[in-house]
Symmetry: C2
Subunit: 288 residues, 2 copies
């Protein structure tokens, strides 16, 4: 286009698209170009700022490895990951929330009532509930992939001192959709802030903290997979999660109990000698 | 924010910014988040598409090197680079146009009337003109950093068979602001399309061609630096430059001449035995 201008550029971009272009690709590219161009026009982006932005993504590229994905983290702190989750959550099912970069493949099996903390020390937390459909019926045999941070604030994939499967477990709900396990109380932690995302957070006057949480991926035939997290209602970062992962229905209350009230049917039954916490949370899956 | 939703997410993002945040950083981040979120909402971006986009930028990161910057190329084919140029062009000065990734530092000096083609074969092109200010006054002693493709369609930095400084020259305009040199006619060429940008172009039904051009960076004390390109009016890709670099005032006409009409005062004077092309182009710089 010989007469491309700051005002017609977006139309010119759309005109360049071939007639055979897949309609969804066309939609995504034209809306992306519109917003990218509008962003630059609205802030009157300078060459220096443009170069700075490029250096930033180049840096993100250099430090991204299979174990640390700075682009996912960038999407997280800009709220994009959470927005995609919210766009596809069903109002009558449990909200989805960020998968994050720390999930590990092939988690070890965890029996109902099993313990996920291994030899780690900390306040014992008993978690239980049911997997249900949106009509409230239990989903027998649903699988729950569960993971969390160790007490030092690190996931196993971040921490050379942990076994890769520590604080990961794969549970099969019973015929009533029930799941139950023990662990230690997860801790609040910071996202990696020694790269470009950290620089953005500092420039924005934001901290890198996430409220403590448990991760779940719940799957059952005929139902949509649910990727979510649950957060205790007393976490100091609940209202300022740096990756925007908290939803109202994902906040739970940990109740405090005497050791003699620890229930039967758990791997730790009879072994608990200090106060422990207990939480109940039902996971509701939408139909496919 | 405990009650973040798809609708309030952008406001929540803005509220997270610290009070001490630099006003320009605040403006850029909030407008960026607004457009990023609006993009995802408008196209109802799916998890699969989000992951595909992430894989795409991860791939761009992996193949980016000092010699090949896939992020710059992505900015180019999405029109962002050209838009930033257009946002900061002065209407009474020569339009700026994409720098591109092929400029080489420390170009060799080129005298007025000098030859830039070296031993390369091709149709000889004589280019001359004046560097002026916006009032039409010559800018004595302006420097012109000039570069182009070799006849094989490659810049020196892309081509191990070329000296790194082939088809690059640094000229100092005379007291009348005049510059003049000979070269061979530049050729149309394709941007690298064996990476993620090539995949986007194919998905969009677009080709990777750029119309042939000469690059200039023109600098003079008290004036804004000008980064630009000029294009011949008969190039087949003039109306479909894949990086949106063509502007109406950057299109020139190559006139055709008999060898006996080759002028005096050039390194090639007396040595031209075939028809040659001639073009005149004034470069107008705005005051700082």
């Amino acid at each position: 286009m010989r007469h491309v201008t700051r005002d017609n550029l977006t139309e010119v971009f759309a005109e360049y698209l071939g007639e055979q272009t897949d309609p969804r690709v066309r939609e995504i590219l034209t809306v992306l170009a519109q917003h990218l161009h509008d962003f630059a026009r609205e802030v009157n982006l300078t060459h220096e700022e443009w170069r700075k932005g490029l250096e930033f993504v180049e840096w993100a590229g250099r430090i991204t490895t299979p174990e640390r994905n700075e682009f996912v983290l960038l999407s997280d702190v800009l709220g994009l990951s959470s927005l995609v989750d919210m766009l596809h959550s069903r109002p009558d099912a449990t909200s989805s929330s960020v998968l994050g970069p720390f999930h590990v493949s092939n988690p070890p099996p965890l029996a109902i009532g099993g313990d996920m903390k291994g030899d780690f020390e900390g306040i014992i937390l008993l978690v239980e509930g049911h997997v249900r459909d949106t009509a409230g019926n239990p989903i027998a045999g649903a699988t729950l992939d569960i993971w969390q941070t160790a007490p030092n604030g690190m996931y196993s994939s971040q921490d050379p001192d942990q076994d890769i499967h520590s604080f990961h477990g794969l549970m099969k709900a019973d015929h009533n959709g029930r799941y139950a396990f023990t662990t230690v109380r997860p801790v609040s932690y910071t996202v990696p802030d020694d790269g470009p995302v950290g620089e953005i957070l500092r420039a924005a006057g934001r901290h890198p903290w996430r409220p403590s949480h448990l991760h779940f991926i719940v799957q059952a035939p005929g139902h949509r997979s649910l990727v979510t997290e649950v957060f205790p209602d007393d976490d100091p970062y609940l209202d300022e999660d740096t990756v925007f992962g908290v939803r109202a229905d994902l906040v739970i209350h940990y109740t405090d109990h005497q050791p003699q009230d620890f229930p039967h049917g758990f791997a730790l039954s009879g072994k608990v000698t200090e106060r422990f916490l207990r939480a109940e949370f039902d996971l509701v899956l939408a139909k496919v």
